[in-house]
């Protein structure tokens, strides 16, 4: 009799625990379903209940955020995309795949308030947003040292140096930490938007093409287009954009500097000036070819002289700027003095 009671009791306790476990997962799922994005908002009480209290047979990704945080809002959009992807990928349910068991994964966010201050302090947060992947094993970590080791692996403290955080990057991170393999899919709406834009651009382009047929059909316009592209690219426009180069700078004495020293850098204006000069030099040569031949000899001479002198001035300008910029520039190379002449063995390189 005693035995039966004992067995029944144990069974009951087990069952209770089981239902509690079940119910906790179900509760989370219900909460997640209420939100369109699938991200559950936690507060201090629910944080304790869902995150720190055992048993908890699920993974919880927590997004720590605060009011008046622009970066958080931006990243939260990406974060909720990841949550949606997880929901669509069926990752809110535990599953078994390729012989590996996956726990259910839920997404939550925790706002910084007076009530949740303690939680934020516990993690020593100086900044938001941060993303913590909380696995069940986190609840059983005892010592502070082990906790630090856990956080090192599973807590992502976001900062400027992380660069642009995209949803695919976030998804990668969460996948890696939870062991899931949810794939990135572009939302259908984005595809349609892109398609619409492309269609509009194509149609607009067609209209433009027919309207400007006579202009665009002129090879001179092609030449002009080619030369403009040529000089813009040569100006290092991509370099300027990538490095956020200022147009000009100011030197120590407060004078405006137009040219930067060193071959690997440049200032914004410098690139345009020089590449324009180079294209201009070419254009002057074209001018000589186009307007030089003339029946009126004196007019031809005058034109030739003007174009020729202008060309030389521009060339001189390019050369002098480059010489100023790069000191080892030496286009009068004839084996320089430091070339050791004489028998081959003198300059074998390996003879010290």
């Amino acid at each position: 009799m005693m035995k039966v009671v004992l067995v029944l009791g144990i069974l009951a306790i087990l069952g209770l625990a089981q239902t509690q476990v079940k119910s906790k997962v179900a509760e989370l799922r219900q909460l997640a379903d209420q939100e369109p994005s699938g991200v559950i908002s936690l507060n201090a009480k629910t944080y304790k209940y869902f995150v720190t209290d055992t048993p908890r047979p699920y993974d919880l990704v927590i997004f720590f955020t605060a009011d008046n945080c622009k970066l958080c809002e931006q990243i939260y959009i990406e974060y909720s995309t990841v949550a949606k992807l997880y929901r669509d990928g069926g990752a809110f349910y535990s599953s078994r795949k390729d012989g590996r068991r996956h726990r259910a994964v839920f997404f939550a966010k925790l706002q910084f308030t007076e009530a949740t201050r303690d939680i934020f302090q516990k993690f020593h947060f100086n900044s938001v947003p941060n993303i913590l992947v909380s696995l069940p094993k986190m609840t059983s970590i005892g010592s502070e040292e082990n906790m630090q080791a856990y956080l090192k692996q599973y807590l992502w403290i976001m900062s400027v140096s992380d660069g642009v955080i995209t949803s695919s990057k976030l998804l990668d991170h969460v996948n890696k930490k939870t062991g899931r393999n949810v794939e990135y899919k572009e939302p259908i709406i984005n595809i349609f938007i892109t398609l619409g834009i492309l269609g509009a651009v194509g149609f607009g382009g067609y209209l433009l093409l027919t309207a400007l047929k006579s202009i665009l059909g002129n090879p001179r316009v092609w030449l002009l287009g080619a030369l403009i592209t040529y000089s813009l690219c040569m100006a290092g426009i991509v370099f300027n954009i990538l490095h956020g180069v200022p147009f000009t700078s100011v030197d120590r004495n407060g004078n405006v500097e137009w040219f930067a020293k060193g071959a690997r850098t440049q200032l914004g204006a410098e690139g345009y000036i020089m590449s324009f000069s180079i294209t201009l030099a070419g254009a002057l040569l074209i001018g000589i070819l186009k307007y030089g031949p003339s029946e009126d000899r004196s007019k031809a001479r005058l034109l030739f002289a003007v174009f020729g002198i202008a060309f030389m001035l521009v060339l001189f300008h390019i050369e002098s700027v480059y010489r100023e910029k790069v000191h080892h520039y030496n286009p009068s190379f004839w084996p320089p003095a430091h070339y050791i002449r004489g028998p081959l063995m003198n300059d074998q390189g390996n003879s010290l």
Binding site: S143, Y230, M234, I278
Partner: protein, 761 residues
Amino acid sequence: MADQTGTKQSVGVFLQGAAEKWAPAFRMTILLMISILAVIVRVFSVIRFESVIHEFDPWFNYRTSKYLAKEGLYGLWNWFDSESWYPLGRSVGGTVYPGLMTTAGIIYWGLHALSIPVDIRNVCVFLAPIFAAFTAIAAFLLTKEITRRSEAGLIAAFFVAIVPSYMSRSVAGSYDNEAVAIFALVFTFYVFMKAVNTGSLLWGNFAALALFYMVSAWGGYAFIVNIIPIFIVAMFFKKFLRPADDDDLVLRRIYVAYSAFYVIGTFYAMQIPFVGFQAIHSSEHMASHGVFIFLQVYMFISWVRSFITKSAFRMLSRLFILTLVSLLVLGFLFLTFTGKTQWSGRSLTLLDPTYAKKYIPIIASVSEHQATTWSSFFFDLHYLIIFTPVGLYYCLRKPTAAKLFASLYVVLSVYFASVMVRLLLVLAPAVSVMAGIGVSYLFRKFTQAIRSSFEKPAKDKQGRQTTQKKRIPPELAAIGLIFVVYMCSTYAFHATNAGAESYSHPSIILASRDRNGNRFIIDDFRESYYWLRQNTAQDAKIMSWWDYGYQITGMSNRTVLVDNNTWNNTHIATVGMAMSSSEEDAYEICEKLDVDYVLVIFGGFSYYSGDDINKFLWMVRIGGGVFPHIKEEDYYGRGQYRIDQHATPTMLNCLMYKLCYYRFDEVKTDYWKPPGYDTVRGTEIGHKGFKLKRFEEAFTSERWIVRIYKVKPRENRDGLSIRSRSVVSMPEKLSEATLGGPTFKYHKYAHKLTAKRRRAL
């Protein structure tokens, strides 16, 4: 008087006759001399240093070539390299462009068949200069095909033979894919232009064959695969905007050429294991598929046109083209968004230059992937960029298909070159060809003017003077001619200078000068790599930053964790994390990765600025990209990356810092400076007198450039420290010990153990 003009005339006639008779011979001789020039201008590095493989990637190519020469082509295909990417390894056959190695292998086998026992190393070293000569010939052919003028071809060949940009990748010893690929690129363009000009199926086939060589040699083949479809689309635009009589003929020729080129070329490309089915479904190839389908449909419509009325045809064709274009766009978008086709990171960088900076630090970290400044354009192409507009003017004055192609090539490649410094290499042949066309046009106009001043105004049969053609005044033309010649020779001087001084450094051997001006050689790299080969176990694993991976496997024959084939970002990030972690954490990573030695490059002792401390921020960034707990800002002291006393504790205690500056405070680098003065950063180091616990200095090269550390094994009973210490620190009663959840059992056990020991004591 009449007699004099008569002799003058007859001398002129004689000269002209002789010139015409001997022109082919002159052409050949000049081309041969240009080829010889292309070779000899590139051997400065062998003369000034020695016949050695340069830099980083060439070492892998060299190692693969050695393997190929020994094992044959199938051996290479099946080669699984266990010496790199430990513990993953790398299947080399499927991840390599084999064109370069196969070329070297064929030359090697050929010479051996002729009983010329040449070393494979020398074949590799001199391959690039020889192919530069071929490139010059290909440029001659291409330019001749575009302009139908051999003088333009000769000038273009001369320009391309010594253009500094190309020289930077093809000096003797620079045994890299680009060395043969630039030849393949120019040659493919030539053959394709020939196919377009003749409309011959045979030439289309040859073009596919040339493309095959290009695909086998370099990933840059994507440029060809895209520029040709763009060119064809441009031809359609031209027909739409500026109809000409021969449009239909030209398009039919293009149709024949491209159909052969595309179908056979794609099949060929798929034969390279590294490309395989990417030739079908990668986004880089989508344009070529689309244009192929479009051409077929267009031709079909033209065929239908011959049967139906004009108005019905117009409606039909519009409908057809509209549906087709929208279908193609839709299909492409569908494939892209569903992930069936993907852009590679490097290609995306070309379309959106900011992409790499945002998302792929590993691509952004490579210096040759940086954006280009105007001065790089000027240094690498010199006066060619001034002559190019003239060539463009000539080509677009009366555009034919070939001239339009050349202009497109220039415009597209100048954009690509502005995105990545490395792609100046693709621009160089384009600009050389264009400048060659431009300069020859200038020459022609000037010499025509001079020549016409010697000729008597021609008279027609009735004795009337024909209207004289417009000419430039001859005396000014002479001045112009001299000036252009002067500019060309300045260009030659500059190119020689660049080849001899700037681009001929092997970078594994450095040269410097002592205070008396005597030249000496710094050979630290090879010294240490040989040390590794001779003093470490055969299966020792060496951890270093990925830059040195190829060199270590090539010269030391030891296993490395990461190398310059950056295929596994996570693995590289792990090494980055190890380098930027504290000694204790790094030790754990090293242990997990089976590392035996850690190799760092340190230039602070001998003014070598390309060292690991200067590259360190990239290790942090790449490591932080995968392991977010590594934060770039933790390594900035007072808002700056620094190594002096104001550096952050994280920086001062990370592995890289410690390994570089270990015992550095014991030496003086400069008489006037305190000990521990870093000559590259120009500051005194901030952390002195530290000891290494987990690592042990194994080797430091003569000038400290390479430092190698051995990873110490764990000390006896290391990690069991609590137990041994607990004799003293463990409280007498179990209840007094602070017990955590999972450690409870362990403490209980430890307590029992200590109690036993105490009793024994």
